[in-house]
Amino acid sequence: MTEITRRLALSLAALPLAAPPLLGQSLTKMRVSVIPVLDVAPLHAAIREGYFAAEGLEIDTSTTTGGATGLPGLVAGQFRATFSNAVSILLGVREGLDFRFISGASRGTMTPPDILAVLAKKGSGIRSGKDLEGKRIASNTRNNIVWLRGMAWVEKTGGDWNKVTTVEVPFPQMADALAGGRVDAAILSEPFVAGALATHGDTLERIGWPISETAPGGTNAQYVGMKEDLDANGEIFDRFGRALHRGVDWVNARLTDPALLELIAGFSRVPVERLRQVALPAYPKGVTPAELDELLASMKHFGMTGSYPAPASLIFRSAAV
């Protein structure tokens, strides 16, 4: 009996010695939560072009359309990295969750077309935020980047955002809700803007560009990891960042190339012919304290008050590029 136990103990002790060479050959698996939107094109490009494999990483994307499980799943350790919008990330940080930015994902462009647009019904007379006072505007969620940019647009165009009622409507249903008169305006993101104008072009029109009219080039979405994981395994995230940023280069070199649209159609399942009408975001590699400062000022202005840590302390070295 003791003999068996001793032998077992010895062989167990020898396991870690045998393990490193094996691990060296296989890829480190990383599960990343994403949303099927244009912003994650660089990640898919880097997977397809083998940039992650070259860094010894195997990326398993988990696509959630609502995004409701992305950040909670990161906290619970289901994911090593999560793609999310900047407002939701910072609200999590405010609540004490240790999110750290590991890479930029998307920003608005400096000039139209934006990745966000405000649509209204043709002939409704609604042209500005002022016209929307006392009326209803659709946003996919309250207190996220889409809503924040939409409210900033309402204010910029002369309206009092407190007098505009936000109605939560999922993106796919927005065009129908607007055309059916259930809301008076809607804040849509691409590719739903292009979709709505393609299918309801005779009844709907674009009345505003929420990013370029209020914060040209403003931040939109990022990839985050957990501080604890980054402290312990920072080197893995360095490799993740390098591979992802090669994907960003791949995408930025093909902004007018059909190859990019085919890549996006592949993971989002949006038909290529619709993607031809879509406005693309800017694809940054890093996250800057300045863009987070701008966003935090806007968040506080629109009711998301509270104390936030200094933005510089939230940026991991892989995003400081």
Binding site: S62, T65, P72, V75, H200, P271
Partner: protein, 258 residues
């Protein structure tokens, strides 16, 4: 199962509704491209069936549903039998069960993700939870309805409590258990798809939401059609199985009627 073309057949109404679908979409009564004609939906269904995508997704969904159904069902029957046999356990655990039972399962999926992840473990657990309660309730109801004479006869013949439970009570309760399973079957399919819609990247539910977000209405409705047909076929298959397993019970019922 024979399809008849008599006007009184329920199929006439189904066919009528399908024609209404096609006509309303073709004439754009809803003023939206998100209501595609049935023919477009069927074409999309055929396309993604031939690529093998839909059969694979349906297989995955059915597997998760079956695993949850089996796990939740077996536990439901076992707990139901114990509750009925030992009233003390029912007094101890009954209130807990009654408190958990009315919770809408989709509401607890996000917190369950924290403990069980996004994949099969979480989805099978969610389905098992859904199936557990109807099976439990029906099992307890069934045990209560076992005729005292039957049990007394078992005792007279000197059959022990465990064998009595397995060979007398369980067969007598079987019709009730199966009725519980039949209710659970429909719920299980719904809950599997809902869980797939909320989390993870698996099955028919995920495909449905993906297509909705990609603005591909025909593919989305194709999934709805698949689910309707699947639910119908599952129920038919279950009824046929039920007739075989407890044919004696149906025979008994007919006797009483006469």
């Amino acid at each position: 199962m024979r399809f008849s073309a008599r006007p009184s057949s329920g199929l006439v109404l189904v066919a009528g509704l399908l024609v209404l679908w096609e006509v309303s979409a073709r004439l754009d009564w809803m003023h939206t491209p998100n209501w595609p004609p049935l023919t477009h939906v069927l074409a999309a269904l055929l396309r993604d069936t031939l690529t093998g995508e839909i059969p694979l997704l349906v297989g995955g969904t059915l597997w998760r549903m079956a695993a949850g159904l089996a796990a939740g069902g077996v536990v439901g029957v076992a707990v139901g039998m114990v509750f009925a046999a030992l009233p003390l356990t029912a007094r101890l655990f009954g209130p807990t069960v009654e408190l958990i039972r009315p919770i809408p399962i989709p509401a607890v999926i996000p917190p369950l993700v924290l403990f069980l992840g996004l994949d099969n473990t979480m989805k099978v657990t969610v389905v098992a939870l859904t199936v557990f309660f109807p099976v439990l309730t029906n099992t307890m109801q069934g045990v209560g309805a076992v005729e005292a004479d039957t049990l007394a006869m078992g005792r007279t013949f000197g059959i022990g409590p465990l064998r009595r439970a397995l060979h007398i009570t369980l067969p007598a309760v079987l019709p009730y258990i199966l009725a519980g399973f039949r209710v659970s079957l429909a719920l299980a399919l719904v809950v599997t798809v809902v869980a797939e819609m909320i989390a993870g990247e698996q099955g028919v539910g995920h495909y449905l939401v993906m297509m909705q977000f990609a603005g591909r209405a025909p593919e989305m409705y194709a999934t709805v059609v698949v689910l309707a047909v699947l639910g119908y076929l599952l129920n038919r298959a279950f009824l046929m199985m039920e007739r075989r397993v407890i044919h004696w019970w149906f025979a008994l019922g007919r006797q009483h009627d006469e």
